[in-house]
């Protein structure tokens, strides 16, 4: 780090938490001060990155201003020349804070490199506005090795409520828990969309991505009986988020509610393994207990090459977890072959991934060992054939050099929802599904929406086939 950056780090202890600030403009004695325009007109800028906050030592403070005709204490910063800026939320309103809350923010900023996460700290933060908590945790998550417990100050009861509702609606004959008031229900008592204040939105993204968003959409869709294909996308997105989240960032009650929901999602055979693994991560007896449930295989291409005398050998692994069996092998010809079978269940899920069309199971190949590209990962999508005997898929991919890991833990997704997958990944996947020929691909892909990238991938695949 150069000396300029070091100097800025020393000076810039207290900087805006929000993206937007407004200068508090003094008026004549006796008159209320007014707020300048957001970021002095540069609304696209992030106030935290502004030069003035990196080169001048601002002090954390709070001021009382008039907000909607009422006095309100709001979060602020004061410069050495006594000028003051107010921190604004995402609709340009000053961020409310208590006097104790402002003091706590100041203390946290001083101890940014080693943040405390005492219960008292979390309790104080819970008393502050949601906007302040969100902005603080957003910065903490980006800039520090954030203590997991700090994220417990978010209103996780909303997540728990959404999870319980969704789980109930995924239970045969289940009804969602009755809310504290009927504001969310239309006349007649029928189930309706959750009210605006119950939408989870972005508030929880400092703690975890792809968790609150898919959960909210899942809950909303189940509440209104949403038609059309959507369920497998949100179920897969939620399970992906649950497989990625740091469990300690969620309170125990939230982990429990999400685990119950994961179990309900797991009544669908295609989602069973991912759901089981997600539930284990959330509520397992030990942080690593779930590792025994993973479907991963470590392989070595070089081992196969070194076995050059005598009969050609394969190196491989047979993976079994619950309903799933996967045979993973490296062939002497330099291919990684994955054969996957998912047995049917006796469950009758309320909603099923089968409603959304053909499924694709993600298969990841991650380089490990001492190489310059360690950690780099390639993903393929294995088409799953659905029969009365269950789900079946087969891939043959080029084997990377050296040691690598094949992963099968992520949930499958309907092909129609792979419309954000890069072209090269789709194209490579078409080639890797060796048991599927052009005619069958057309049967699957021609039905997709016209702008789906699979059409272009199929055209490129056909152009690359030997004539």
């Amino acid at each position: 780090m150069n000396s300029v950056a070091q100097q800025e780090d020393t000076v810039a202890v207290h900087r805006p938490l929000s993206s937007w600030i407004a200068v508090l403009e003094p008026r004549s004695p006796g008159a209320h001060p007014t707020l300048g325009v957001i970021n002095d007109g540069d609304e696209r800028a992030d106030a935290r990155d502004m030069v003035r906050f990196r080169t001048v030592a601002w002090v954390r403070t709070s001021v009382i201003i008039d907000r909607d005709g009422q006095p309100c204490r709001v979060l602020a910063l004061r410069a050495p020349d006594r000028s003051v800026v107010i921190e604004l939320d995402d609709v340009g309103r000053p961020v409310a804070v208590s006097a104790d809350g402002a003091d706590l923010v100041a203390e946290l900023e001083v101890r940014w490199a080693g943040l405390p996460a005492a219960p008292g700290t979390v309790a104080q933060l819970r008393r502050e506005s949601l906007e302040l908590r969100y902005f603080l945790l957003f910065r903490i998550g980006r800039e520090t090795a954030a203590p997991a417990e700090l994220f417990h100050c978010l209103p996780w009861e909303r997540v728990e409520s959404a999870a319980r509702t969704a789980a109930a609606l995924l239970t045969p004959g289940g009804t969602p828990p009755v809310p504290a008031d009927d504001a969310g229900r239309p006349p007649g008592g029928s189930i309706g969309r959750a009210p605006a204040e119950e939408q989870l939105r972005h508030w929880f993204t400092p703690a975890a991505l792809s968790l609150a968003g898919p959960l909210s959409v899942l809950r909303n869709g189940l509440l209104v009986g949403r038609a059309g294909p959507w369920f497998s996308r949100e179920a897969a997105a939620l399970l992906t988020g649950l497989l990625a989240v740091e469990p300690a960032r969620l309170p125990a009650s939230t982990r429990s509610a999400l685990s119950v929901l994961a179990d309900r999602l797991g009544t669908d055979q295609a989602l069973r393994h991912s759901a089981r693994l997600a539930a284990a991560r959330l509520t397992g007896p030990a942080p690593t207990a779930h590792l025994d449930l993973t479907l991963t295989a470590r392989l070595d291409s070089d081992f196969v090459l070194r076995a050059s005398s005598g009969a050609p050998q394969e190196t491989g692994a047979l993976l079994e977890q619950g309903l799933v069996t996967a045979d993973v092998a490296v062939t002497p010809g330099g291919a990684v072959v994955v054969e996957l079978e998912i047995s049917p269940t006796t469950d009758s899920p309320v909603r099923t991934t089968a409603d959304d069309g053909p499924l694709c199971h993600p298969v990841t190949v991650t380089l490990i060992g001492v190489t310059a590209q360690v950690g780099s990962q390639v993903r393929y999508w294995m088409m799953l054939d659905r029969t009365d005997e269950g789900l079946y898929g087969f891939l043959a991919m080029p084997a990377p050099e050296g040691q690598f890991e094949v992963g099968l833990d992520a949930p499958p997704v309907a092909l129609r929802f792979l419309d954000r997958v890069p072209h090269r990944e789709l194209l490579a996947s078409l080639h890797a599904n060796e048991h599927i020929g052009p005619s069958h691909w057309h049967t699957i892909i021609d039905e997709l929406p016209p702008r789906h990238p699979a059409h272009a991938a199929l055209a490129a695949y056909e152009a690359q086939l030997p004539s």
């Binding site: 993206s19 200068v23 403009e25 300048g36 325009v37 957001i38 970021n39 002095d40 007109g41 540069d42 609304e43 696209r44 800028a45 992030d46 909607d68 939320d89 995402d90 609709v91 340009g92 309103r93 409310a96 506005s129 949601l130 906007e131 957003f138 969309r193 605006a196 939408q199 989870l200 939105r201 972005h202 993204t205 991505l209 792809s210 609150a212 968003g213 898919p214 959960l215 909210s216 959409v217 899942l218 909303n220 869709g221 949403r226 959507w230 996308r233 949100e234 997105a237 939620l238 419309d419 954000r420 997958v421 890069p422 072209h423 702008r451 990238p453």
Partner: protein, 400 residues
């Protein structure tokens, strides 16, 4: 069929795609009284007063985006005197006896204003489609466009996207997505909120921003780096309060340069050139780009902003060159003539506005001028007259 029931043809004083069906419902219900769900347009009449545009009442619980109930009609006379109309003047209310005589945007246009995209440049529609519907486009965008246009609102890509794609840039080279339309801010959020909350989980986690200063509605990615979308209703000028409208020419005139007045309709695949100047000045096929101020501002801050943005493009295009068909540029004669005619006391006028005005001008300059002043910049500015030189001197610390 326009909003009064007349069938639209090229000879009937209008040209372009058909007026949306929701607007035609007004005629089907008889007379010219409003259908409850038909959008109000600039030029409509309420109690004999002409609708100029829409403001947004800013109130309510912290963190709440405005809704259609917060949209306010600005009537002739309101914009220049007196307080804002009370919230009862909501735009979408079926209880308002609004006479629908204001023209839908496509009724405002002549043939020379509307161009099928592929007639301007082969493959242009595909390029726009990739931007709006492709793998890198926000997943909510297609549904948002469908819902807004289905409700009778106009929706167009604006600013850099149509300008740069026409000039030959690839979709992945286009920066932030700026869009505009006829929906006031609250009406926009009524639709956008629902789409973001209900369509898919990725979109649901996008933060939503609304500026009461400018009525800009933004959607950010969860990591809050950049914008996935920035919407602001069609611009109108000359009012005391932040406001939007539905007049395409008014919108064009309050933009900075003519090359930035192009609009693209992603539903009908047409490019709009409301001033019938932008395509010529962009020189998108070949030739030299021309930098021309789009309007005739007299406010000193607006003049400063136009000047600074003009300098930005002057410097950018002089160094980049190239473009579709090898367009060279730019020709900044018109911009220089305009700048040279600015009052020499421009900086003094800004001084009179106070420190807050200079902070706002500095904010614009930060996005337009190079971080380190250069002899080249000084040389360029010298040709822009006294006011420009004094302004840039003050902003770069070179004098004043």
């Amino acid at each position: 069929m326009d909003r009064t029931g007349s069938r639209m043809t090229a000879s009937a004083g209008g040209y372009g795609p058909p007026v949306p069906a929701s607007c035609r419902r007004a005629a089907a219900q008889g007379g010219d009284l409003a259908a409850a769900d038909a959008p109000v347009m600039t030029g409509d009449l309420l109690d004999g007063k002409k609708v100029l545009g829409f403001a947004t009442a800013v109130h309510g619980a912290a963190g709440r985006l405005p809704s259609a109930a917060d949209d306010l009609l600005l009537l002739e006379g309101d914009g220049h005197t007196g307080p804002l109309p009370c919230p009862d003047g909501a735009t979408g209310s079926g209880s308002l006896p609004v006479r629908r005589v204001g023209p839908h945007p496509y009724r405002q246009l002549e043939p020379g204003h509307v161009h099928p995209a592929d007639e301007l440049a082969p493959g242009l529609t595909a390029a726009f489609d990739e931007l709006v519907y492709g793998p890198d486009a926000p997943r909510y965008l297609a549904v948002l466009i469908e819902r807004l246009t289905g409700a009778g609102h106009g929706f167009w890509l604006a600013g850099g996207a149509p300008r740069d794609l026409l000039a030959g840039s690839r979709p992945d080279e286009v920066g932030d997505l700026d869009v505009t339309g006829t929906a006031p801010a609250g009406s926009f959020w009524d639709v956008a909120d629902r789409v973001l909350d209900d369509e898919d989980g990725v979109s649901a986690e996008h933060p939503r921003l609304f500026s009461p200063d400018t009525l800009v509605c933004s959607v950010l990615p969860p990591q809050r780096q950049g914008h996935t979308l920035e919407y602001r209703g069609l611009g109108i000028g000359g009012l005391r309060v932040p406001a939007t409208g539905t007049d395409l020419r008014q919108d064009a005139r309050q933009r900075d340069l003519t090359v930035n007045t192009l609009l693209y309709d992603p539903v009908h695949h047409v490019v709009l050139d409301p001033l019938e100047q932008a395509l010529r000045d962009l020189a998108y096929r070949d030739g030299i780009r021309v930098l021309v101020p789009a309007g005739a501002p007299d406010d000193p801050e607006t003049c400063a902003a136009v000047l600074l943005r003009g300098l930005k493009f002057r410097l950018r295009w002089a160094s980049a060159g190239g473009g579709r068909g090898g367009a060279r540029g730019p020709n900044d004669t018109a911009l220089r003539d305009w700048a040279t005619a600015l009052p020499e006391n421009l900086t003094a006028q800004l001084d009179e506005r106070g420190e807050a005005a200079w902070r706002r001008v500095h904010a614009v300059a930060d996005t337009c001028l190079p971080a380190t002043p250069s002899p080249h910049l000084t040389e360029v500015v010298r040709g822009y007259g006294t006011a420009a030189a004094a302004l840039v001197d003050r902003l770069t610390g070179g004098g004043g």
